[in-house]
Amino acid sequence: MNNIILECRNLTKIFGTVKALDNVTLSIPRGKIVGLLGPNASGKTTFIKLCNQLLTPNEGEILIGGMKPGIETKKIVSYLPEKNYLNEWMKVSDIINLFSDFYADFNTEKAYDMLKNLDIRPKDKLKSMSKGTKEKVQLILVMSREAQLYLLDEPIGGVDPAARDYILDTILGNYNENATIIISTHIISDIEKILDEVIFIREGRIVLTNTVDEIREEYGKSVDSLFREVFKC
């Protein structure tokens, strides 16, 4: 099996007159947890949407497990969008049934386990839940798949610090070591300990890629402090 799970070459996406992604070339191996870090409107979500075929590039290409984004890649990619897309009237147990029908790699037992750990009742409807609880349900659904690539768009944006810890623990506890997780975020301090590598993105361009420990070694500071310097307003 090829060791590269995601590869893109000269990827460019233009919205009107704005280059949301500008000639991005990247290659991400299997078995890594990667942080896609950048301020708002830097191109993080555009990149993730391109990987999921929700957008098509103006130039360049993406390959996931050697394939262009499409039906086949969706079988191996588990995607957490930044917005809630689940039907409000559904019960958690309904959604779990839907997911297990839809995805061959969905592990129902794992999903119920995680729900239990978080005190979320399967019979509850989404509309009765707080924003934070809904986010947890979404993350549980995404992490219950035995995927090869997880694309998590702002998984910790809306939750309190305690839930954030739980979410990071869920990510660490539920991924297998051959899978890769890409986490897009601008909240770095809480998350950098669980990352192998980081990609800094600004105005659609990659400005830095390195491992967390090399950044700490080279600059004598955390990724969070370096980020604040690089993206100083």
Partner: protein
């Protein structure tokens, strides 16, 4: 169990130091089996590859060893553990001395501060 990861240094070196500390202080006794990489990573809230790297270095140094089928163990060589303990002590004392010298104390002053404080501690307990 508590893991304390500072922000200004590489994570894997801090993991090495803290595992050494846990071995020296008997949290992981000689000859005992360590938790799996995944469990240790989860406990410390760090990346599993980073934890793996720290364990591999400790194994290289001989403080840990891997048994092919049953996992990773702390060495039974108590002399080696003692040696690690001494070098950790040296490191702490060096840091302490550096700070005291920065504060402007000379050796005899440092010695008298230490013995004074130890006497006081002894009185209290």
């Amino acid at each position: 169990m508590h893991w304390d990861i500072k922000t200004d240094r590489p994570i894997y070196t801090q993991l090495i130091e803290q595992i050494q500390l846990k071995i020296c202080s008997g949290v992981y006794p000689p000859g005992s089996r360590l938790p799996s990489v995944r469990d240790l990573a989860r406990e410390a809230s760090v990346n599993p590859n980073t934890m793996q790297r720290a364990l591999a270095e400790l194994e290289e140094a001989g403080l840990l060893y891997t048994h092919r089928t049953s996992g990773r163990f702390v060495t039974e060589d108590t002399d080696m553990i003692k040696h690690v303990k001494n070098s950790l002590a040296e490191k702490h004392v060096q840091e302490f001395l550096k700070k005291m010298i920065e504060l402007g104390f000379d050796s005899s002053e440092i010695m008298s501060i230490i013995s004074e404080m130890m006497k006081r501690e002894g009185d209290e307990t």
